[in-house]
Subunit: 446 residues, 2 copies
C-alpha cells in the first residue's frame, strides 16, 4: 500500500568526491557541482567545478569525455564521472579526468552575471556586493568569510558546553526592553504593544537561577539610526551569563579562555579558510585590563588628546586605547573596566568602592568594542532602589524582579557582537562585509 | 598602571563539586548552590543544594559545621566546604558532610514562593507554571525538559556538520514573506513596511547556491490566531536545505538519519534527564512513507471516517494516520508524501506525474505534524510561471528569483518545530510545556 520505508541515507555506487577529499586519491569518482569556469585549450578544456569544499579542476578531453563541450556554461550545475589523478598545479592538488559530464540545471537563458564571482578578488563595491548578495556570496573569498564565522560560533558553543553552560532559547518578541532608550523596534501583537528584543538580558539572568550557567547565540534587534561602518540593526549576539562568581573578573577570565579556545578551534578546523583570507590569529595568552578613567588619561597623555566626555568613550578614543595597548603591550585586545554608572543599564552592579562606577567591562579588539559585560545586581532591594533612583517603575518589571525576590546567586555575563568580532578578526573595514544579509537604515533586502 | 592581565580561568584551591561528580569520591570539596530544602533531624540537618548537575545532599552537624542553622532558608545561595562520603540513599549516591557553610545571597525577606518548586511533581496548573515561569523552571523536572531540548538541538547540529552542512544566519526582519497569507507580524522599519520572518525559506534556498548544504536553528514568527495546544506565535525552527538531490526522498532519508543520531545522542549524553522524565526513545530503524491521498483513504476505511476535505489533513486525521501506522507497523513516525499543490507554497515543486500534487512531505510523530519539507523549484521559468498562475507578481520577488536566474542545483529541505518535537518525545499534552517562554495570543510575558 505505502510507498516505501525510509531507512536513512542511500548507498552510492561510486565514491563521491566529497568522501574522497580527505582520503587517498585513486580510482573512479563521481562529482557534482556548479560550473565555475570553462577554459578551452584546443582538444582539452579545463572545467573547474565549485563545490562546498572548494574548487575542483576537471579535464574534458575530446573523444574521451562523453559530453558536448559547447553546451557547458558557467552557472550550470552538473554531475560528472571521471578518474582522479594527482596534479600539483590544480587548486586541490588533484584533478578529475572526465569520462562523462551530465547537465543537471541551467541558469536562465541569456542572463548576465551582475558581478564577476569566479574572479579571485571581485573588485566590486560593497554596495554592489550587497545588492547582489545571493550571487556575490558564491565567490570563493566571500563564502570563506562565513565559514570562519561558523567556526567562531561553533567554538563559542563547544567551549561553553565544556564549562557546564546550558544553551537557552529566549523570546525575541517581548513586552519590555532591558536596554532602555528609544532604540527599539515596535510591533503590533494581537492588540498589545510589543517590542523586538534588544538583548536576551532579562531571560539570561532568569536562566542563571535555573541552570547556574547559560548561553545563547541568537539574533538581537536595535532600531539605532546610526549609519556607520560598525552598526547593524539586526545582529547575532553571543551571550553568556554565569552564577556564583567572585567578581566580574571571573567573566573576563571566562571570555579570555573562550576566545583562546575559539582561535585554536579555527586553526584546527578552518585552516583552509584562514589561509585563503590570509588571517593572522591574535594572541590571547594574556589580555591587559585597564580602568575606564585611567584609559582615558593614558591615551590623552600619549596621543595629546583632550578628554571631552568623561562618562563615555568616543569611537576615536577606543581606537587610541587599542593603539596604546598594541604599542605598549603587543596586545590586540584590551579590557576596559569600571564604566561610569550613568552610562550602564539599571541592572549593572555599582562598585561598592565608588558607586559612580560599575563592576563592568568592555572588551576592545583592534580598537573596537566587541563585548559588553559585567556583574549584575542580585539583591531585590538593591535592584528596586536603583530602578527608582532612575525614575523607573518597579511594578512594570515584576516579571524580571521575580528572580531577585526569590533568590539569585551573585552573577554576571556578557554579550559579544558576532559580526563585529568577525570583522576585526578579518581586518575588514565595514561590518556589512561580515554579515550574511545585513539590515541597516536603508537595507531591508535581500 | 593597569589593573591586571587576564590570562584565563582562576585556579581553585580546593576541588569544586562540579569537577568531582564525574570522578572518584574522596576528600575535601567546595560546593555552591541554592538551598533547595532544609530538613531538621535533631542534632543533624539535611541541607539539599540545587546545582546545575542536580541535587546534592549535604549534612549539617552541630558542633562540626561552622554555621548558624537557623539562618539557612530555602532560596538562599551558599558556598560550602565539606568531606565527600558515599551514601547510597542520597540522590547522587554521595553526600557532603559540611565543615562550613557561608550564605552568599538571600531572597527578599518574607517573600513566599508562588509554587512548590522543591516538590518532585509540582501539581500546579500550566497557567500558574507559565505565570511564574522564571521560578517554575527551577523545579528539577521542569528544567530537565529543556536540557533534553538542548540535546535535540545539539544532536541536530552535530549530525549536519558531519554531513557537510554549513550553519547559516538569516535575517528575521524581512521585506517579504515566503509562506504568504495574513499570518505575519508587521513592523515599522525606518519608514518602510517590514515583517518578521515566518521561515528562513528564501535565504536557505539562496545559501544552497553558496554552500550546497546549509542549516539554521533559529526563531520564526507566525501571527496565527489559533489558540490550540500545538500552536505558538514564536518558535524554534530547525531548518536544513540541500542541493544535488535525486528527489525529495533524499531529504526524508537525511531526516531519518538525523533523528536516529539525535536519539542516540540523547541516550549517550542526556541519560540522566531521560530517566528522570521516564522518556522512552522511539524507534527510527525504518519509517513508513505513505501518499497523502492514500493515507486519507486508509484511515477513512479503517476508522470508518468520512473524508471531508480532500486537499488538507485535519488534526484529527493526523492523529488517526499516526494511530494506523502505530497499530499496523509499530512506528511512532510516518512520512505523508505528495501533498496537494494548492496547499503548498509557490516554491514547491509539482509532481511531473501529476501536477495536482507536489514532491513534498510532512513527518508525523505520534499523530502530529512536526516537519514540513519537499523539493523546491530550481528552474527560473518554471518558478515564474507558477508564481504568475497564483496571481503573484514576480517583480516583487526579484531578490529571490536572482538565484534561479543565475543557476540553482536541484534542491530541497525541511523545517522542524523544535518545541513540538520535544512535546511529542516527552508525551506532553501542550506545546507550552516544552517552550521556555511561550508566546501565544494572550501571553507576551514573562
Amino acid at each position: 500500500m505505502f510507498m516505501e520505508f525510509i531507512t536513512g541515507l542511500k548507498a552510492k555506487e561510486t565514491k563521491e568526491i566529497s568522501d574522497i577529499l580527505a582520503q587517498e586519491i585513486a580510482g573512479k569518482v563521481r562529482i557534482n557541482g556548479y560550473i565555475h569556469t570553462v577554459r578551452h585549450m584546443g582538444e582539452v578544456a579545463f572545467i573547474v567545478l565549485r563545490k562546498r569544499e572548494g574548487l575542483v579542476q576537471c579535464v574534458y578531453e575530446e573523444g574521451v569525455t562523453e559530453a558536448n563541450l559547447k553546451e557547458l556554461k558557467e552557472g550550470m550545475t552538473v554531475t560528472a564521472e571521471g578518474i582522479l589523478h594527482e596534479e600539483e598545479r590544480a587548486p586541490q592538488g588533484f584533478e578529475v579526468r572526465l569520462t562523462k559530464i551530465n547537465i543537471l540545471t541551467s541558469p536562465k537563458e541569456g542572463s548576465m552575471l551582475p558581478l564577476p564571482i569566479s574572479k579571485w578578488k571581485m573588485k566590486t563595491s560593497l554596495e554592489t556586493k550587497l545588492n547582489y548578495r545571493p550571487i556575490s556570496l558564491r565567490n570563493i573569498r566571500e563564502r570563506a568569510i562565513f565559514k570562519i564565522q561558523e567556526g567562531i560560533i561553533r567554538g563559542f558553543r563547544d567551549f561553553l558546553y565544556s564549562q557546564g553552560f546550558t544553551e537557552i532559547r529566549t523570546p525575541k518578541i517581548v513586552a519590555g526592553n532591558a536596554e532602555g532608550g528609544a532604540n527599539v523596534f515596535k510591533l503590533e501583537y494581537f492588540g498589545s504593544k510589543a517590542f523586538l528584543a534588544q538583548s536576551p538580558q532579562f531571560y539570561k539572568q532568569t536562566m542563571v537561577g535555573v541552570y547556574d550557567r547559560v548561553f545563547e547565540a541568537a539574533p538581537v534587534f536595535r532600531a539605532e539610526k546610526h549609519n556607520t561602518t560598525r552598526h547593524l540593526n539586526e545582529y547575532t549576539s553571543l551571550d553568556f551569563e554565569m552564577g556564583y562568581i567572585d567578581g566580574f573578573e571571573d567573566i573576563m577570565a571566562m571570555e579570555t579562555q573562550m576566545l583562546r579556545y575559539v582561535f585554536d578551534f579555527l586553526k584546527a578546523q578552518y585552516a583552509k579558510e584562514l589561509k585563503l583570507l590570509e588571517v593572522t590569529l591574535p594572541d590571547t595568552a594574556k589580555i591587559p585590563a585597564v580602568r575606564f578613567d585611567e584609559a582615558k588619561v593614558l591615551v590623552s597623555e600619549k596621543y595629546n588628546r583632550k578628554i571631552k566626555n568623561p562618562y563615555d568613550l568616543e569611537p576615536e578614543e577606543e581606537v587610541l586605547i587599542g593603539k596604546y595597548f598594541k604599542e605598549e603591550h603587543q596586545s590586540d585586545f584590551v579590557f576596559v573596566t569600571h564604566y561610569p554608572s550613568k552610562k550602564r543599564p539599571f541592572y549593572a552592579m555599582d562598585d561598592p568602592a565608588d558607586p559612580k562606577f560599575t563592576l563592568s567591562f568592555d572588551l576592545l579588539f583592534k580598537g573596537m568594542e566587541i563585548t559588553t559585560g559585567g556583574q549584575r545586581i542580585h539583591d531585590y532591594d538593591t535592584q528596586v532602589t536603583k530602578m527608582m533612583a532612575r525614575g523607573m517603575n518597579p511594578e512594570e518589571f515584576s516579571n524580571f524582579l521575580m528572580i531577585h525576590k526569590h533568590g539569585m546567586p551573585p552573577h554576571g555575563g556578557l554579550g559579544i557582537g558576532l559580526e563585529r568580532l568577525t570583522m576585526k578578526l578579518l581586518d575588514e573595514q565595514n561590518v556589512r562585509e561580515t554579515t550574511m544579509f545585513p539590515r541597516d537604515l536603508s537595507r531591508l533586502e535581500p
